[in-house]
Symmetry: C2
Subunit: 238 residues, 2 copies
């Protein structure tokens, strides 16, 4: 009997996205998978139904993981791989484990000598970086910036300084209802010459990805409310 | 007349890779493109021939960019977008602009108000991070580490310290014939408790991605000579 594998499977950014954004070899791999570890069962079922174009998701077993998943629980689920079962790890949006839950599942798989296979698919961070024109040879992804005003201002100044000193592109995300606040802090506290890229609703019909100097961003009113945005900045000579 | 766009198109890691790793919507977009900006015309022609399954690449115009491409030259090529022509940016392996040339092309497009559309495809860095089990909420990609022995040792110590202090995953690559040297430096200079992931030949038949503590890596002989490797480490409690 072969040992099962853990497949790490990217999802779409919206259930309305074109299903052709997902490479067809994912479908071949999905046909080998019996059980899924997911963030949200309903969303994962909808994604699988869309990608597989059939209602065959009824045959799958779903394990929901949350913040409270402990390693004992994960060991128990992943132990099924040693019985020859392939398991898929799915998050609600984009790539599991990148700005998304899942790395503890993968870590547990490595500790149990289970082979981990990552599959190609959408990552908003990488798409934004590719389309930003900013340095992709050296970059940091910070996740979310601090919520508190003083900490946020300090963090913005700190990461801008880092980009000036080392030409390292700085990438971060924000919860959609706080995008406009972060944007106003960026235009207020960054230098005029720093390049700022905002990637809005990537892969959706109203996708806009645009890079310009902070002095240019200040000249117009923008509204990023409730849009999925990735922010990238670089004050160096990249 | 509509203004043309700049499409940023990921390639495969090897011409031997399964063409189904590339999402089918890329083929739809390729059919709208007339001109390409490429690293290497021969490799790009081979990729397009494989993906499109026809010899239609004979109709395309190729512009090769190297280290000596100046902005005047790029302005001239990208100006074709204002004549309604769509241009594709292709690198030899994986995603253009990420650990690969192309960001100056994208930057020039933004300066000329040309819309940039990134397409989904393989990135060895993101696939490695997804499969590493290391922190994907906060990470830095460094490109290549220094070649000089003293600088290399210092850099390894510095990035390990950063990962311990902030749980930030540190990612880097190496030219294939220097992988074994970097691996020996990592096992010599990192703490035993630091987690090290090596992702070898991602998406190829002999893909191996494995994370374990440095103390474990020391116990066996490994040979990464001439393999495409991504290295990831984290000494923090991620």
């Amino acid at each position: 009997m072969n040992t099962g594998k853990l497949f790490v499977i990217p999802s779409l950014f919206s259930i309305k996205s074109d299903k052709n954004l997902i490479p067809s070899y994912i479908i071949n791999n999905l046909n080998k998978i019996d059980e899924f570890i997911v963030e949200n069962e309903k969303k994962s079922r909808a994604f699988l139904r869309k990608i597989l174009s059939v209602k065959s998701e009824d045959n799958f077993i779903f394990h929901t993981i949350g913040k409270h998943s402990n390693s004992e629980n994960l060991n128990k689920i992943l132990n099924n791989c040693h019985k020859g079962i392939n398991i898929g790890l799915l998050s609600d949006l984009g790539c599991p484990s990148i700005a998304d839950p899942g790395s503890n599942v993968v870590q547990t798989a490595h500790l149990n000598n289970i082979k981990v296979i990552p599959l190609i698919g959408p990552s908003s961070i990488f798409l934004a970086l590719m389309a930003s024109g900013l340095n992709g040879q050296n970059f940091t992804f910070h996740g979310y910036l601090p919520v508190n005003n003083i900490d946020l201002q300090e963090k913005i100044k700190k990461i801008e300084k880092k980009s000036i000193n080392s030409s390292q592109t700085q990438i971060f995300i924000e919860t959609p209802f706080r995008n406009n606040k972060v944007f106003s802090f960026l235009t207020k506290h960054l230098r005029n010459s720093t390049k700022l890229c905002i990637a809005k609703n990537i892969t959706l019909d109203d996708e806009v990805i645009f890079t310009q100097k902070v002095s240019q961003w200040k000249k117009n009113n923008y509204n990023f409310n409730k849009k999925l945005c990735v922010f990238l900045l670089n004050g160096g000579n990249d």
